[in-house]
Amino acid sequence: MAIAVKLDDLLHDRRMTLTELADRIGITLANLSILKTGKARAVRFSTLDAICKALACQPGDILRFEPDEAP
């Protein structure tokens, strides 16, 4: 997947744990882990909205396009 999730870096910068974020935005820790580990197939706008509000960031700070290396 060429879309990388930078949630770990953001959480580290904000000195916040994944559990705290899950509590703040009302999303289960399991679902947030799926997002953090890049296993998610899709992200709802409502989820992005909640994360951006909680971490005071832009969607582009969470998601980044990293092209796959040519084989």
């Binding site: 999303i27 679902n31 799926i34 197939r41 899709a42 992200v43 709802r44």
Partner: protein, 173 residues
């Protein structure tokens, strides 16, 4: 609606289990007919025939139909067992899985094979039936049967797509 579903599924489960047993019993009966009672005289006596080339043809035809009937037993078994598994997943509340799409695909192929065997039985029955000894088998071409084959293939595809959508939904955050 949910009440009718909750009642229908246990009933379907029991009926399918009963049909699995009935299918094997039918197979045993056909096998007994072929192996234990193969005597032409017995068959001729049952049909009130006197020894003649026509009577021999009739006996051969009936034996061929019995062999085809025997071939339908494993097909029926494969079909019923997969249907039973699908009912199980519906009862568990998780029917849109890739396994069910594969099961429906296998059921569709089994139905197709059964329709082809039905054509064979119909053809044999037509070949050995005479005005003196007419044979009426519930076999041959059936528009409903072929529609069921088509419908099951389409349904298998629908389940495959449904399974993919379900998987996407599960991994949507």
């Amino acid at each position: 609606m949910s009440h009718s579903y909750s009642a229908a599924l246990p009933v379907a489960h029991i009926v399918l289990k009963f049909l699995v047993v009935l299918n094997w019993l039918s197979g045993a009966a056909i096998l007994a007919l072929l192996v234990v009672m193969p005597h032409e005289q017995w068959i001729m006596a049952e049909f009130g025939l006197s020894p003649s080339p026509e009577a021999e043809r009739l006996v051969m035809g009936l034996r061929a139909i019995a062999v085809v009937g025997l071939a339908t037993i494993p097909l029926n078994h494969a079909l019923l067992k997969r249907l039973l598994a699908i009912v199980g997943t519906v009862r568990a509340g998780d029917p849109f899985v890739a396994a069910n799409a594969n099961r429906l695909q296998a059921i569709a192929w089994a139905l197709l094979a059964l329709q082809l065997l039905s054509l064979v039985v119909g053809a044999i029955a037509d070949a050995i039936s005479t005005p003196a000894h007419p044979l009426h088998f519930d076999a041959g071409f059936s528009i409903n049967g072929w529609l069921a084959v088509l419908l099951t293939f389409v349904l298998a595809r629908v389940f495959a797509e449904g399974g993919l959508m379900r998987e996407d939904l599960e991994r949507t955050v």
